[in-house]
Symmetry: C2
Subunit: 203 residues, 2 copies
Amino acid sequence: MKKIKLGPKPLLYPMPPILVGAIVNGKPNYMTCSWNGLAGYKPPTIVIAMREVRYTMKGIKENGTFSVNIPSSGMYKETDFCGIYSGSKKDKSHIFQTFFGNLDTVPLIEECPLNLECKAVNYLNTGSHILIIGEIIETYINKDCMTDGKADAEKIDPLIYLTATMRYHRLGDFIAKAFSVGREQEDIRDNETILTYVQGRDK
Amino acid sequence: MKKIKLGPKPLLYPMPPILVGAIVNGKPNYMTCSWNGLAGYKPPTIVIAMREVRYTMKGIKENGTFSVNIPSSGMYKETDFCGIYSGSKKDKSHIFQTFFGNLDTVPLIEECPLNLECKAVNYLNTGSHILIIGEIIETYINKDCMTDGKADAEKIDPLIYLTATMRYHRLGDFIAKAFSVGREQEDIRDNETILTYVQGRDK
């Protein structure tokens, strides 16, 4: 396969276009952010990359709290809206039904099937962005998105963001069970490795 | 919609099951890691959550370098293998064809359609995990995964990892253009807001 160099580019696939919620100037505000990932399980943490100038950042820094809301694929229009317009120019408090959990500074989106209520516990400057480390203090999920006591992604039907070409997709077909199908690989590779060694020895 | 509480849980959808490459004890090693995200664009950075005890961490700390390799959906078996077995017990240097770019301490996977060559520029402890901040110094992509000069996710066909139920999926159908479809939402919501205000005034 012929590889080409693109220079240093922030490319990663797939990405979750989460809606980050905060109270800013006394109102719920929601901002779309695809640069994020899980950061630990003890305590459960998430990391979000956000520019310092963002309207949402003001609320997070003031209150030390925020929410992460996972949109389902049908919510592409509202999600994109919250990525295009700043809360400094558009009042985004009416876009969704807001509910609250433990803290009155963490607005959560009723329409999103999965919500994480977070406390900001650390910040790290990466240059253009600030990494916000959030401790997840509670998880809310639509009851009908559970299977056998576990969050079921197929029922959540998450929206997927693809950078560079800037497109939303839905989740596709099931391929295989993780932490399971790799065990088949083991035997194949062990045999191949053995064969390579044997052939090497013969030469 | 009825919501239930799960307690604090690290849940996020979708996630990219990247293969993190490093030279450990003189050999390429690859570890699957789904807890990661982009961290900035100037300079381009990525953040990866990894446990301190990981074999791969040894190589990253020693050399201050690592790679991020995006597997396509057909690579589910090899990807899962690298998530199940530690390099301390299995020699994973033969799983893929390794190539090198600028630095001889950054092994890159030929079979992965997209590769990021990274320098570790910062670390942050979140409790159970260490966040590794990597500056992307070069990007390699299969020539046939480009469309009009841009990385094309549909051609990359990335493997998708879904936590909790622990399943691999492929990318599904295109829904809409990002930074575009949200402009339609604007009009709808503006009208709704206006209607609500008018109705409110009438009452």
